[in-house]
């Protein structure tokens, strides 16, 4: 243990602890900006400078390891003057139009300026000297260089958490900036639209592209019928932007709010999540049969899940040779969109050209997914607008709704019923668990051999998870699987997806089925979720997802009555011709830059 003094108070911490962490232990908060718990240390913003006795310069608390006998002052005159200057310098190269900015009141620079540097600007405005670019090319997010403070959190996120590095630091000196490959439009490079950078940007330099106004316009148009679907991960995080603690489930109030906002029908993505399990489970079993019974050498295994659009774009850019391994199933969002303008419109006797389908997603990549040209199986754009969890919170505030006092409401039908298997889609391992709950029962006629249906080996925050499910006592139809060991793997965060993909593409992995989520933690850590994010917050949201699952009356996708009836009435059977038309898709090879 190392003993040191911070502000004349003694503190003992393990070796290699930073001054920042040591101070936090004794309740001393040092302001930071480039520092983020999910990322490696940068030490470039210089906001966290503190005074070390005997040192020639001030030291960055986030980067300085403690040493025996060290004496630190976090609030001396020298520190306060330097801190004020650093903040003033940042403000001088930042376009401060807070009243128009999406991050107003949730901006870390704004908070720092408010605490340490209110009053007249000391320095000259540099924003007019730079030709700042605003990149609105992506349907998912906006990159506004005029608000960038060069903390490099986005670069570190894209490199370390996602292994994509679509952006990097370019040039030097006054021209230093965060840039894509040769400053190309973000829509034209390997960016997967996962939005993890948006989650970690301290200012308004990276924000999602919002469609709130368009959705309001649709709702107010008396000629349009606006349906909304909500993703599993939204209901366990929406509260954070409305005054709740992380991990609180607000499903009922969320549905109530959506009704008050004026959507004509409040439905659930969880319904199509259950549908996805039916389609994808059947697809997997079909591939296994082809491989094990028919000896078809052309069958591609392992099969990868395909519901994460960030992951889809990643594999299209980086591993296009493995596209045949992807499940051809669309994501639940897109399945819903296709059905909204066909099955739903028919059943409700509404002209499909008058249906506007909106989705609330924890995701920014879903905005890109909805815009993909092939997502028009209904004959119209299957999903018209995608709003993030954050945008929904804004709409709720705009509608003047007092969220806390709302009654719990229930989803509308049709396409509003769901099961616990659907809601766990929101957590990493959830799709796998839902698929196993159904596939195992189809094949053996028995429930998965896990207490309370909780398949714990696929749960949790480990980057890559593996499990082996032994199949015994199959029904007659499935006896080609008797004694088989189904090997599955799960990865979340693209850095882990890449690890797994490398192993698979080199033939070093023998899995049958792999679930991949682009975002750390799965959708609960998605690019559209409330900001800030941390491991602690993501764990709480994850726990809420499994809690939601346990409290639902139905826990397996194949038991969903609306799923059973949609097959009877409309789709015939999983992987039928109609299913393929509406619920399946194809993929494209993309450039490598």
């Amino acid at each position: 243990m190392i003993n040191l003094k911070i502000n004349d108070q003694q503190v003992s911490v393990p070796e290699e602890t930073t001054v920042l962490a040591a101070a936090k232990q004794i309740g001393i908060n040092i302001p930071t900006l480039c520092n983020h718990a999910d990322l490696c240390v940068a030490g470039n913003c210089r906001v966290c400078l503190v005074e070390q006795k005997g040192a020639r310069t001030l030291v960055a608390a986030c980067a300085m390891p403690v040493s025996e006998g060290m004496e630190i002052q976090t609030n001396s005159l020298k520190v306060r003057n330097a801190r004020k200057h650093v903040i003033e310098l940042l403000l001088s190269e930042h376009k401060s139009d807070c009243t128009k900015c999406y991050k107003n009141q949730n901006c870390e620079l704004q908070a720092l300026a408010n605490e340490y540097s209110f009053g007249d600007h000391i320095f000259l405005d540099l924003t007019t000297d730079h030709q700042y670019k605003i990149d609105r090319s992506s349907p998912s997010f906006i990159k506004d260089d005029s608000k960038c403070i060069r903390c490099q959190r986005c670069v570190r996120t894209c490199a370390q958490l996602q292994h994509v590095s679509a952006i990097a630091v370019a040039n030097k000196g006054a021209h230093q900036k965060i840039s894509s490959f040769h400053d190309r439009m973000m829509s034209s490079v390997v960016c997967t639209n996962c939005g993890q950078c948006v989650n970690r940007c301290p200012t308004g330099a990276l924000v999602e592209k919002t469609y709130i106004d368009q959705v309001w316009d649709a709702i107010y148009d008396p000629n349009l019928h606006v349906v909304v679907q909500t993703a599993p991960a939204v209901r366990v995080a929406l509260g954070e932007d409305l005054g709740y603690d992380p991990g609180e489930r607000v499903t009922g109030k969320m549905v109530s709010a959506l009704k008050q906002i004026g959507f004509d029908s409040v439905l659930d993505t969880d319904f199509t999540a259950d549908l996805t399990i039916m389609e994808e489970g059947t697809e997997l079993l079909t591939r296994l049969k082809k491989a094990l019974v028919d000896g078809d050498k052309g069958v591609t295994l392992p099969m990868f899940t395909s519901c994460s659009p960030g992951w889809i774009k990643f594999i299209e850019h980086k591993y296009p040779q493995m596209l045949p391994n992807l499940s051809t199933c669309k994501s639940p969002q897109q399945m819903f969109g296709a059905l909204a303008k066909t099955f739903y419109a028919q059943k409700r006797n509404i002209d499909p050209s008058k249906v506007i389908s909106v989705s609330i997603m924890p995701c920014t990549a879903k905005k890109y997914e909805a815009d993909r040209p092939e997502m028009r199986s209904s004959g119209y754009k299957d999903v018209d607008y995608v709003l993030t969890t954050r945008e929904l919170a804004v709409m709720i505030k705009q509608a003047g709704i007092d969220f806390r006092t709302l009654n719990e409401a229930r989803y509308d039908s049709i396409m509003g019923d769901s099961t616990g298997a659907a809601v766990i889609f929101g957590a990493t391992g959830g799709v796998m668990e839902a698929a196993l709950r159904t596939a195992y029962e189809i094949v053996t006629g028995r429930e998965v051999p896990f207490k309370n249906l909780a398949i714990t080996p696929v749960r949790g925050m480990d980057g890559v998870k593996e499990a082996t499910v032994k199949i015994e006592g199959t029904t007659e139809d499935w006896n080609f699987l008797e004694g088989a060991e189904l090997k599955v793997a799960i990865a979340h965060g693209l850095v882990n997806a890449n690890k797994l993909m490398k192993a698979v593409s080199q033939g070093k992995a023998s899995y049958h089925f792999i679930e991949i989520m682009a975002c750390p933690g799965g959708c609960i850590g998605g690019g559209g979720q409330p900001i800030p994010t941390s491991m602690e917050i993501r764990k709480k949201r994850m726990a809420a997802i499994y809690s939601e699952d346990e409290h639902l009356p139905l826990r397996k996708s194949h038991e969903n009555p609306e799923v059973i009836s949609i097959y009877k009435e409309f789709l015939t059977a999983p992987n039928s011709h109609k299913s393929h038309e509406l619920l399946h898709t194809h993929y494209f090879e993309r450039e490598s830059y």
Binding site: S165, A168, A170, K172, S179, S180, F181, H182, V190, Y593
Partner: protein, 154 residues
């Protein structure tokens, strides 16, 4: 302006390796041959070294001599730091601008010459000084620099 890289990047990777610290030697050799880096060649290098194209661009753009904008066959870099500035670099620049009919930052239409400014190149006692590609020319006067440039014209 574009050049064909063919197998160049593969050959360079064979010689210098495919680790991250192979990046600078590889980029430098490409620049030695062609005076700048095209988008295509940067993408090739990224693929060969298994790093992202944005990373290659971000690294290259840091270094003044690893140009990512097209340059001519002969890149003239005029030192603009204080001593060369005191000893007449402005006259040198305007002389070059006159005979080549380009401004600083531009390349002649026949792609032969590019004119740039650079910081201290280490010839302060013989200022003003310039580099043409790797060669330094020092103790310049407007007359001398015309001779030097003419020497490069064919």
């Amino acid at each position: 302006m574009m050049y064909n890289t063919g197998n160049l990047v593969k050959e360079l990777a064979e010689r210098h390796g495919r680790k991250r610290d192979s990046l600078m030697p590889i980029l430098q050799e490409i620049v030695c041959k062609h005076n700048y880096l095209t988008d295509e060649v940067m993408v090739d290098v990224a693929k060969e070294l298994d790093i992202s194209a944005a990373e290659v661009y971000g690294t290259a753009s840091f270094y003044s001599f690893l140009d990512t904008q097209p340059r001519g066959r002969y890149v003239i870099r005029v030192c603009k730091t204080i001593t060369c500035s005191m000893k007449g670099k402005n006259d040198i620049i305007s002389t070059i601008e006159e005979i080549l009919k380009i401004k600083v930052g531009e390349t002649t239409p026949d792609n032969q010459f590019s004119l740039l400014e650079t910081n201290c190149i280490g010839w302060c006692h013989k200022a003003p000084a310039i580099l043409i590609n790797d060669m330094p020319y020092t103790e310049l006067t407007p007359e001398k620099v015309i001779d030097v440039i003419k020497g490069y014209m064919h």
